[in-house]
């Protein structure tokens, strides 16, 4: 199946996130992707990536944008989120589920992305994240 590709360039505005996610989810639904995975995994995963791009990557700078590249088929969604920041090292984050960290207010974003998405990759610089979500295997007919 030929993937359908979208590009979104969003201003650095947290209030744009919900509708952007809704737009992408509606396209994935239309492509026939599993509704169950769109509900939580897709929506929360993409929300986290967009929020981090705006808050940490672009540091709230109104003159910076976030670019989203999405490609969807019934079997697979791939979303790349890139900000204009200097990136970070995603390898050395605390595990938020450890008893000592559980009561922290923050630190669950990248953790959730890793849990909810099937494949997660950062570019070298650390200012672009690529997330893949696969449809559940179909039952043999």
């Amino acid at each position: 199946m030929k993937p359908v590709d979208f590009v979104l360039e969003l201003p650095n505005d947290l209030r744009a996130i919900e509708q952007a996610v809704e737009f992408l989810a509606s396209r994935a639904r239309e492509a026939g992707f599993d509704e169950g995975l769109l509900r939580l995994n897709f929506r929360v995963g993409v929300t986290e990536a967009l929020a981090n791009a705006m808050l940490y990557g672009n540091r709230g700078d109104e003159n910076k944008n976030v670019r989203v590249d999405a490609s969807v088929t019934a079997d697979r969604i791939c979303v790349r989120v890139r900000d204009e920041g200097r990136g970070f090292d995603p390898e050395h984050l605390d595990d938020p589920t450890l008893p000592a960290h559980r009561a922290r207010v923050g630190g669950r974003g990248i953790f959730l992305i890793n849990k909810l998405m099937d494949q997660v990759e950062f570019n070298e610089a650390g200012n672009a994240i690529t997330m893949v979500l696969n449809a559940p295997p179909r039952e043999a007919p």
Binding site: A16, E18, L55, G109, F111, L112
Partner: protein, 110 residues
């Protein structure tokens, strides 16, 4: 998101409609803190009409729970659907909150 605040006896019950996410979490936080300052101590957040919650939303719940406890109060949660329950389990936040199956269950034992 929109939310609805009601008093049920001495419990402040908040219904969250839509998403509780980075774009709107401050509204919930502000509202609850106002009630806390106004003397409320028992809080129940009902998620029956909630779509999804992101890490910022979870963070606000953790922060509010802490602040309420500091004043000798308690924050309870109710009506998490399967998706939301998964979220609390993944993050082990289910060990931090009193999560009731229904609003009544949360209220009767408060």
């Amino acid at each position: 998101m929109s939310f609805d605040v009601k008093k049920q006896d001495d419990v402040t019950v908040i219904d969250v409609e839509g998403q509780l996410i980075v774009g709107n979490r401050q509204e919930l936080k502000q509202k609850v803190l106002e009630e806390l300052e106004g003397g409320a101590r028992k809080f129940l957040i009902d998620f029956a009409d909630t779509g999804y919650i992101d890490s910022s939303g979870l963070g606000v719940l953790v922060s509010l729970s802490k602040k309420i406890r500091e004043q000798g109060g308690e924050l309870r949660l109710a009506n998490l659907n399967d998706d939301l329950r998964t979220l609390f389990e993944l993050t082990k936040l289910d060990t931090l909150f009193h999560i009731a199956n229904s609003r009544d269950e949360a209220l009767t034992s408060f």
